[in-house]
Symmetry: C2
Subunit: 349 residues, 2 copies
């Protein structure tokens, strides 16, 4: 496992070629995933360890990605906090969280007692990955959670939305309620990720999809301290912490202080710009525009080459998209991307 | 008119205090606007010069803003191109534009013959602003249009959307169709803005709400050249060109090349960061987070002071929000913001 390209790249050690995995690689763009979903709904797949493991393995079998990522949803621990959520397919909350009473009705769930199916899926995967992968090195398994700001954004909004003003409004109107909610989420996410690592996750990714809606001052005040607490609590376990934020560009200065070892940036932040702000002490992950996969193969190859050039040749780059892969992405485009990473990302080390 | 704070600030000339206006200042947060809308629907207001002028004047009467902005919608010229749009309240297109045949069915409208109600509203306003404003100097009138990327984003998507992948997909899948559409939009927007200036607009703002979805390379390739053509065509008329982009941070290098004189940035891009990239040859507009107006007055004042400090004391700052004012913004918060700008933005020049 110490030889996996992915973990070596996370630690900024030399690799034979740049590793690649894809956000939402287990998902709707795969015919085998859609076939399984005709039989089971989304939450059933998340909550049934063998099904979650099966879906996690699908893209590993098909594409031999360099890392597997647990199939689940960032709102699973939120539901366990006492905030039930349905998927339609966008999340819909029975009760949005907007007042101190709403927050006080929530609790920090015991991750094993209340989301044990996630830990069990990780254990199943750790058994099955070595035989399912048919690769020289077993791909590592990435666990994940939503970051507090992003989870709070959904909980306050009560579901999906175009602009998600709710949390920023709450931060202005009732900052004590917002801070109490963020504290509760921080404890929840910390326990949840520690449990994933104890179950066998080799790395964890924090998804902060909506933090890019905050201005830099709000991000420094209401996101960074909580992220630092999570990173601090995970440090003794020695696993790489990957932090993804969508719309990272104005927040780079804050992002470099949260204590993550790998910074995953969206498609709008060029990796050379990110490198200039972050310095050399982080690995970078990313960041092809998911929409590039609608283009012809030669153009995908050109854009992959550009991403690799922006990342530079120093160790510490994990190739990925700059956001989750889109449901109607052509399979042949994924092959074209992988081939281009194999070709232009060879490092001969 | 040459003495107006707004136009002086656009030209980076000294002012007695920083001017202020607000994006969407004529709109739903105003009780008098909502009262008028119980009698007339949105498109009727846009298409009736006296009604559009009346709505434009409402915030001038109530708040004495330093500039008026024509009440209209960025999709008005798109409808005139042969792409009908309804408002529900989000825009819905009868026929999304996705193929070369779709683009070829459109035309560049004659702005006077096909959107003459806009030019007539401007003429009405130029007559009424001096008497309606009850200010020492008549507030200038800002005309506006959507920028080509933003208009194309709506037309390809066929309406509003959470993520607006359509145009980025088209740019990858059928770049010739996308470029043809962007060219048509550029000619439409140019003619439309020239007609507004000829009717009396003292400045124009280009709204590029969705350009922030493009990565920097795509922005340089598919947005900048068209924006430069528009700015070039407007230059002989000598009016300030204000360019607003939402999510500007990763695009600042490109934005400085488009030929605008005032750069209006969203709430996530600190004005001191923008200034570092733009240098001193531009005026800056912005950029309080619209959600700050949900907070208490003292906190609004603190945040206004911070924006003014970030902008610096050199001439060439127009105070504004970093995005349109939200429909449920409390009126007293608008007063608190204006008072703070009057207090902290006094320049004694």
């Amino acid at each position: 496992m110490s030889d996996s390209r992915f973990l070596r790249a996370c630690r900024r050690e030399p690799v034979d070629r740049v590793p690649i995995w894809v956000m939402r690689q287990a998902g709707r763009y795969l015919p085998e995933y859609r076939a399984l979903r005709t039989k089971f709904d989304f939450l059933t797949v998340c909550r049934t360890p063998d099904l979650a493991a099966e879906v996690t393995l699908q893209p590993i079998r098909r594409f031999r990605f360099d890392a597997a990522i647990l199939f689940s949803d960032i709102l699973i621990p939120v539901a366990a906090m006492g905030c039930p959520v349905a998927f339609d397919p966008a999340p819909v909350f029975e009760r949005p969280v907007r007042t101190m009473a709403d927050v006080e009705a929530l609790h920090v769930p015991d991750p094993v007692a209340e989301t044990g199916f996630v830990m069990e899926a990780i254990r199943v995967l750790k058994r099955e990955l070595p035989t399912s992968s048919a690769q020289p090195a077993t791909p590592p398994l990435i666990g994940f959670a939503g970051a507090p700001i992003t989870l709070a954004t959904y909980m306050v909004e009560g579901g999906s939305s175009k602009e998600f003003h709710g949390l920023r409004r709450l931060l202005a109107e009732a900052p004590d309620v917002a801070e109490r909610l963020l504290d509760l989420l921080t404890r929840t996410v910390t326990d949840y990720l520690v449990a994933q690592v104890q179950a066998g996750a080799d790395a964890v990714q924090l998804f902060d999809t909506w933090a890019g809606l905050l201005g830099p001052d709000d991000y420094a005040a209401h996101a960074v301290p909580y992220l630092q607490r999570i990173a601090e609590a995970l440090r003794p376990y020695g696993v790489p912490i990957i932090y993804y934020v969508n719309g990272a560009a104005p927040l780079l200065e804050g992002i470099r202080t949260i204590g993550a070892s790998v910074l995953s940036v969206d498609w709008r932040t060029r990796l050379d710009s990110a490198r200039r702000v972050f310095g050399s002490e982080f690995a970078l992950q990313g960041n092809l525009d998911p929409c590039a996969l609608y283009g012809p193969g030669r153009e995908i190859a050109r854009r992959v080459e550009r991403v690799l050039a922006d990342a530079g040749r120093a160790p510490g780059h994990i190739f990925n998209l700059g956001h989750g892969i889109l449901p109607d992405t052509p399979i042949e485009s994924v092959h074209a991307m992988i081939e281009a990473v194999h070709r232009y990302g060879a490092r001969g080390d």
